[in-house]
């Protein structure tokens, strides 16, 4: 007797399960879950806080906000950031002042932890949304974030 009831139970639970999958088979629209990346590249928008890479925004006059205080370099757990700094003459006061020469960012080592951005006193660096970082040669992942001939924005002090 239990032989037949087993068969009955087996078929019943199978059909119960298939009612779930069958419902989705009939009702779900195309593209309900998956996105057609990379075809949707033009419309793809990442969330504002998405951590893609560290960038340093510059304004129209090619000025950034980094004073070269090196706090981000110390906060970084794995030596991703290297600040090569120099002393320059401040135009207004005429005194010698620290300034960055190169803000070197090794993207290949970055764990996207966000500690550098969190610690920066002048908000000089922020998150960029680009995530397509594959390259043929890993040296291309070492970047200098401050643009050539860029200067410190006026009025930014640490």
């Amino acid at each position: 007797m239990s032989y037949f009831s087993d068969i009955y139970k087996g078929i019943k639970t199978l059909l119960t399960g298939m009612s779930v999958t069958g419902k989705y088979f009939i009702t779900s629209k195309k593209g309900a879950i998956t996105q057609q990346y990379p075809d949707n590249r033009d419309t793809l928008k990442m969330f504002d806080r998405f951590r893609g890479e560290v960038i340093m925004p510059h304004n129209e006059e090619n000025e950034h906000r980094c004073t070269g205080c090196q706090k981000c370099e110390i906060a970084c757990p794995n030596g991703t950031i290297e600040i090569i700094w120099d002393r320059g003459i401040d135009e207004e006061t005429g005194k010698k002042k620290k300034k960055i020469d190169q803000f070197v960012y090794h993207l290949s080592m970055c764990t996207m932890c966000g500690l550098c951005i969190d610690v920066c006193p002048t908000d000089a660096i922020e998150w960029g949304q680009n995530f397509e970082n594959s390259v043929y040669d890993r040296t291309a992942l070492t970047r200098v974030l401050n643009k050539p001939d860029s200067k410190l924005m006026k009025g930014v002090e640490d």
Partner: protein, 373 residues
């Protein structure tokens, strides 16, 4: 009188096979050395170390803020809960007063993390016993949580959202709305999980009575989380040693007494319902206030030893810090749930078939980076 027939043509002989390190059912780089006799398992020896990254040693080099992001990479499915564990340990050592807002948000995010981890486990569990569809359904629902995490924390897997003293950023304005959407959505989907897999006869035949762990053994092997609770061992850290906002919510600890694979499965399903209820209780009452208290830029813990445990999706995670008063810990030890849960695999798998081993391993819910660290 009957005499036992001794076959001489066929010799029964034990032999070894390797399961892993690239076996799909080991969910990562775990190598199991099986001693088998035909289909019957005689011994299971886990071989670890394939992805050892010496996280504990790295912690001795890092500052307390930097340690947090390493814990993302242990049990990556409970990343937020791991972060919370380190932050709580540091905050308790400093005797920092944490705002209520932070505690509630941490609890909500912790429970979301637990649901997303269990969703993935459920999908993979089905796949291990041969039901591929569950994998897609589990991932569909997990995707919504991943979006919530990405919008608020900035990342989908390795969030590093907690900092000693609070949260790195306040929650995103859409957070509450999205979480409510998810809770409403998931409440309609969880019964489907049951219809699709839980009640299925084939699934039950594969799991009921397989890999039985008694309560005594659960305790002596140090099992925790759903593995311990399925054997009747009440070990929920959220209940017994409440942290963050768990003392303000009511929930029942999922307990079963059978101790088999099916019981471990049911415990996790019930935990998802409990997590939903915890989120519902808190999502409307997130207090206003600061999302962070400022700490010194260089955190130095007073000399001494500190221990904090939390309940991750896999069980009890302990963080043990010895500080000599400097800016790095002298020694930091993680008590990871996966390691203890793996240690009992040999005990419950011996005598079963290889197919049973796969089902048993699926409900131990092993995450290998958590075991190897």
């Amino acid at each position: 009188m009957e005499t036992e027939v001794v076959h001489t043509n066929f010799k029964s002989e034990e032999y070894f096979i390797n399961m892993g390190p690239q076996h799909p059912a080991t969910h990562g780089v775990l190598r199991l050395l099986l001693t088998i006799d035909g289909e019957i398992i005689k011994k299971v020896e886990p071989d670890l170390g394939y992805i050892h990254r010496s996280i504990e040693k790295m912690c001795e080099r890092d500052s307390y803020q930097q340690i947090v992001h390493l814990t993302d990479r242990m049990d990556y499915l409970s990343a937020n809960i791991n972060n919370e564990a380190v932050c709580l340990a540091v905050e308790n050592a400093l005797q920092l007063e944490i705002p209520e807002r932070v505690k509630v948000i941490r609890t909500i995010i912790g429970e979301l993390t637990r649901i997303s981890s269990h969703c993935l486990w459920w999908g993979v569990m089905g796949m291990d016993v041969g039901a591929l569809t569950t994998y897609f359904y589990g991932f569909r629902d997990r995707e919504m949580i991943n979006d919530i995490m990405e919008e608020t924390c900035g990342a989908r897997l390795t969030m590093n959202y907690n900092v000693p003293g609070g949260l790195m950023l306040d929650i995103h304005p859409n957070f509450v709305k999205r979480v409510k959407e998810f809770v409403a959505h998931f409440k309609t989907k969880l019964p489907e999980y049951d219809r699709l897999l839980t009640g299925n006869v084939i699934f039950q035949k594969r799991t009921v009575g397989v890999g039985v762990l008694s309560k005594e053994d659960a305790i002596s092997f140090g099992a925790s989380g759903p593995v311990g609770r399925a054997s009747g061992y009440s070990c929920d850290v959220r209940k017994h040693h409440p942290y963050s906002a768990y003392d303000k919510v009511t929930f029942t600890e999922a307990l079963k007494t059978e101790g088999d694979t099916y019981a471990r499965y049911l415990v996790r399903i019930q935990e998802m319902w409990e997590s939903l209820s915890i989120i519902e209780q808190l999502i409307d009452v997130i207090p206003e206030g600061e999302h962070r208290v400022t700490t010194n830029a260089v955190i130095k813990l007073p000399k001494g030893e500190y221990y904090q445990k939390v309940e991750t999706a896999r069980g009890e995670l302990g963080v043990y810090i010895i500080s000599t008063g400097t800016k790095n810990p002298y020694r930091l030890k993680f008590r990871s749930p996966g390691f203890s849960n793996l240690s009992l695999l040999n005990h419950i798998a011996v005598g079963g078939k290889i197919g049973d081993l796969v089902a048993t391993m699926a409900t131990l819910d092993l995450v290998i980076p958590d075991i190897d660290r």
